[in-house]
Amino acid sequence: MLNEQNLFLIFLSAFLVNNILLIKFLGLCSFFGISSDIKASVGMGLAVIFVMVMACSVSWVVYHYILAPFHLEFLRTLTFILTIASLVQFEEIFIRKKAPALYKSLGIYLPLITTNCAILGVAFLGIDYKLTFIQNLLYSFGASCGYCLSILLFAGIREKLSTAPIPENLKGIPIAFITASLMSLAFLGFKGLFKL
């Protein structure tokens, strides 16, 4: 869908207009689990950016240089998920050794990300939209930043909500969803941005 030459447009679209969390519904499970605490959300958001850009780039290379030339496209799902899982493992070991401080803040979220549908989803979309390597790189970067933005906004709102008077049955998860609904509505307003 996005074959636009303008790379900035790709980033902007992934970041705001077609925000993967609030508009495309990717990455929801960890979203609702993590976002009740701002510090945790920052950690998760940064981890997602780190993993997603790498995972999507590697997956793109694997698809176009290994799967496609041998007509093995049907192994896409299998190879992508294994690639992502192994990449996350390596990244965890690498960060633990080289940047222990970073590991302390990101550490627990890294393995969690393997089952985050956002990573696999964006990797697939990069192929489905027929993006070039650079376009894919920007798309995954924009998408992960969009995820980070949404999760931060959400955490901020939820922290405020925890002290607000809310009816018993709406407390916790339901009010979180209703909040997400309003945020999603706000992000829908970005749709006309293409015409700028």
């Binding site: 499970c29 393997t114 089952t115 709406l170 998860i173 009010i175 209703i178 999603s184 829908l188």
Partner: protein, 201 residues
């Protein structure tokens, strides 16, 4: 003492431990697909198929898989069934395949599937695993179709493409769009809380 065939494993997936309402799993496809009743039914069936098949296979080989490779092995098995489902749907119903889009292959990272494999199928016999998968799958399907009926009905005035309101009904577009999805599931969970609360009294 674990029984050989315990039907409770089937019924718990539908209400008591409904994967969506209680375990809060599998949200992505739920919200994305519930805009259309026919797509939701398709998604529910595909999902249940993957869940049941992977539960059965994982339960069959559970004694042969060493603990430290079990997650990769589960993922490989689940991914295989997901791909089989993906291509089968593409072959028999290209329209459904187009509508489900990326969410069909995403079943592989669906927390419900991996979660049941890890929590149940790897520790129980085949028949109970089959029942567990079936129950969870049907529980998921019930919720997604229920949501779709609300969203498509109010948001588009139709159910499965057939109009359900009189001619001059103005569809409440919001329901079909992403914010509507969040709103409906929020109120559904609030409803579940209310029902659960009443039972306690």
């Amino acid at each position: 003492m674990k029984r050989l065939i315990d039907f409770k494993n089937f019924t718990k997936g539908i209400w008591k431990e409904n994967p969506v309402l209680y375990l809060m799993l599998g949200l992505c496809p739920l919200l994305a697909i519930s805009g259309s009743v026919s797509d939701s039914i398709g998604m529910g069936i595909a999902f249940t198929f993957v869940l049941v098949c992977s539960n059965i296979i994982i339960s069959l080989i559970r004694r042969f898989v060493p603990a430290h490779v079990r997650i990769p092995v589960f993922i490989v098995i689940i991914a295989t069934f997901v791909t089989i489902t993906d291509y089968s749907v593409a072959a028999f119903s290209p329209q459904l395949h187009k509508n489900l889009g990326v969410f069909l292959p995403l079943i592989v990272v669906n927390c419900i599937v991996l979660g049941r494999a890890e929590a149940f199928a790897s520790k129980n016999n085949v028949i109970n695993s089959f029942l567990d998968g079936l129950g969870m799958g049907i529980g998921f399907t019930i919720i997604i179709v229920f949501m779709a009926v609300i969203r498509e009905g109010i948001g588009n005035g139709t159910i499965m493409g057939r109009p359900v309101f009189p001619e001059n009904y103005k569809p409440f577009l919001f329901m079909i769009l992403p914010p509507g999805a969040f709103l409906v599931i929020g109120f559904l969970i609030a409803l579940k809380n209310t029902i659960k609360g009443r039972r306690k009294c």
